[in-house]
């Protein structure tokens, strides 16, 4: 019996060794404005604003190439061209971002897109389905492809990398089989279903044509930004990617959230399919073979962590633009194409190294 400790009021009781706490330094539990070095301040700033790095790189890129290549690079025409050129990869990057936020990776995004574009094109041009219905079929196909990925990831519990490596090949094979490896020519699309090329059309701004496809890409990112930051589903996507077990214990149906993420990504890829017909002008089953890797590049350069749960969805938009600016700038400056590839390679490595460094921020 510990009757020597008078328990008059239970809240007054403490362990003997803890009585010294009364006199001890209590500052540990408080927040103190710690003195930080400039570098630490930068690290904290970037931790809170993960998109800052890509934005700075983009501005620097535009500035440097503007100085080197001059007005040919900085012209509104060239800017419009860059946005146009990155629009399809940008849309794929939007889908990819969702997957990467859940700590996954999707190697099948471009394969879903090309398969959907082949189905849309063939339904509308060859089979004779009305164009809007053909597009709807493409969207449904994208949904189903994404759902297949999601089911394999959540039900069979396979790593997303392996699942999508498999479905990438499967979707690509289906695409070659259904298309017979034949392209659908531009003039046939014009004759049968011009609606398919809607996103290749555009409007004039300051005398320069901006395609609807460019607007579509930006719109997809803005909608995703809203959904991820202003809805419960968006918070759940981040939570699942951050710590799946914790999310599960918090009452989130994590597998359902994951499946919905893959399904939404599939639909975005199918939207990209429609846009790609306008961008390319024809339907080619062989196109965008490396679109998956390019989308991952944009996501990584855009500051979304491959470990999940971190990064802003607007980052990959900037990431895609950075790739476009480098490619355009180096080309106009007359640098050999191989050095564009070289530069992008370094960008990827630097971006991931930055991410690692930012994540190590001390609390």
């Amino acid at each position: 019996m510990n009757s020597d400790q008078e328990p008059a009021s239970p809240s007054r009781r403490m362990q003997e060794f803890e009585t010294v706490l009364e006199q001890s330094d209590k500052r540990v539990a408080e927040f103190e404005p710690q003195r930080r070095s400039l570098l630490q301040n930068l690290q904290h700033f970037l931790h809170g604003n993960p998109t800052a790095v890509p934005v700075i790189v983009l501005i620097l890129g535009v500035g440097v190439f503007g100085l080197i290549a001059g007005d040919r690079f900085l012209s509104t025409f060239n800017m419009s061209l860059i946005i146009q050129q990155v629009s399809i990869i940008g849309i794929l990057a939007a889908a990819q971002s969702l997957i990467v936020l859940t700590a996954g990776i999707d190697l099948s995004v471009a394969a879903i897109m090309v398969l959907a574009s082949v189905v849309i094109g063939k339904f509308a041009v060859v089979v004779g389905v009305p164009a809007p219905l053909a597009i709807l079929c493409g969207l449904v196909l994208g949904y189903l492809c994404g759902m297949l990925n999601g089911l394999l990831v959540t039900r069979i519990k396979l790593p997303p990398f392996i699942v999508t490596l498999g479905t990438w090949n499967i979707f690509f094979a289906l695409n070659l089989w259904y298309s017979g490896a034949q392209s659908i020519r531009s003039q046939d699309i014009d004759a049968e279903a011009p609606l398919l090329k809607l996103f290749g059309e555009g409007m004039l701004i300051a005398g320069v044509k901006f395609t609807y496809g460019s607007f579509l890409m930006v719109a997809i990112f803005l909608v995703l930004w809203y959904v991820l930051n202003r809805t419960a589903w968006g918070r759940h996507v981040y939570a699942v990617g951050d710590d799946k077990d914790a999310a599960e214990l918090s009452g989130i149906q994590t597998d359902r959230t994951l499946r919905s993420v893959y399904a939404v990504a599939g639909v975005i890829c199918a939207i990209g399919a429609w846009a790609s017909i306008g961008r390319v002008g024809s339907v080619s089953p062989q196109s965008f073979y490396e679109g998956n890797l390019e989308s991952i590049t944009a996501v990584v350069i855009g500051g979304i962590s491959l470990f999940g749960g971190r990064g802003s969805i607007l980052g990959p938009l900037v990431g895609a633009l950075i790739v476009g600016v480098f490619q355009s700038g180096l080309r106009i400056a007359g640098v050999d194409v191989l050095w564009q590839v070289f530069a992008i390679g370094w960008l990827i490595i630097i971006a991931v190294a930055m991410d690692q460094w930012i994540r190590r921020v001390s609390a």
Binding site: P10, M14, K26, V227, W233, R235, Y238, A239, D242, A247
Partner: protein, 270 residues
């Protein structure tokens, strides 16, 4: 809390003859359990005694093979922790179940977010950040946790004790019946443990009964009103901090002392 009151009181949560077998292992062997309103009931037991199976059965993570669980005198069957949660039982898990990159407010509302009224909420599914932040601020202030300055700061920027505080605040804010705390001080330093123990008392004093699972005997003896001792899959004693010493508690828990041999008896009343 006189002995006379006990006879008329209905346990807020009760387990009767709970049995759970895993193959040839009997984790729960006709175990009983009672938690009364307004108390902190500690559950102690050696590793493998079946106390975590007991707690899991009570919070819906495990479905017992036999026996009955009563919540407020009404029989209930939970098939998932979500159902227990919906019934008013909140659990603070040992690993806290917080999402480090999300803000404090986001974490408090994870899985039960509040949407705006009208069109933005119904059709655009927009979250009511203002309401959520206000609620989070209120709950944290009630528990004296508002040393946390910024409700939208990421949980990973908090200290271990502050994170524990957020997890406890979440449980206390949403529980309508009781809170289960699994080893709340296990990962904390001395000062932070002290803070969490005070928090446990605060929550109890605000009328919320608590089940406290802990291996830390000094902490158990300090905050518990009663102590449920689990051994070999069943409850073998209910002791009280003022009738039993820690050494006696541990002796009962490990089988070194028959609880009936103690002058206070094996089952302490409330």
């Amino acid at each position: 809390m006189s002995a006379a009151a006990t006879t008329t009181r209905v346990p807020i949560l009760q387990g009767k003859n709970l049995v759970k077998r895993y193959g040839r292992v009997t984790a729960l062997d006709r175990a009983d359990f009672e938690l009364y309103p307004g108390e902190v009931l500690a559950v102690i037991g050696d590793n493998g005694a079946g106390k975590s199976t007991l707690i899991k059965a009570l919070c819906g993570a495990v479905i017992p093979d036999e026996g009955e669980i009563l919540l407020d005198g009404q029989p209930v069957r939970f098939s998932s922790p979500m159902q227990a949660r919906d019934a008013g039982i909140e659990t603070v898990y040992q690993n806290l179940a917080l999402s480090p990159a999300l803000s404090i407010a986001d974490n408090l509302f994870l899985g039960r977010e509040i949407r705006k009224e009208g069109f933005p909420g119904r059709w655009l599914r927009q979250l009511d950040r203002k309401k959520m932040n206000q609620f989070a601020r209120d709950k944290l202030s009630e528990l004296g946790l508002m040393t946390i300055q910024n409700i939208s700061q990421a949980v990973e920027t908090l200290s271990g004790g502050q994170r524990q505080g957020v997890a406890v605040a979440r449980a206390a804010a949403f529980a309508s019946k009781l809170v289960i705390m699994d080893e709340p001080t296990a990962a904390l330093g001395v000062k932070e443990s002290r803070r969490v123990l005070e928090l446990i008392r605060d929550v109890r004093d605000r009328g919320m009964p608590i089940i406290l699972i802990s291996h830390n005997m000094p902490h158990v003896w300090e905050v518990a009103n009663r102590i449920h001792v689990h051994r070999l899959g069943k409850r073998i004693a209910i002791i009280k901090p003022d009738t039993h010493t820690m050494a006696e508690g541990v002796a009962i828990m490990t089988g070194a002392l028959d609880p009936n041999d103690h002058p206070a008896g094996a089952y302490a009343a409330l």
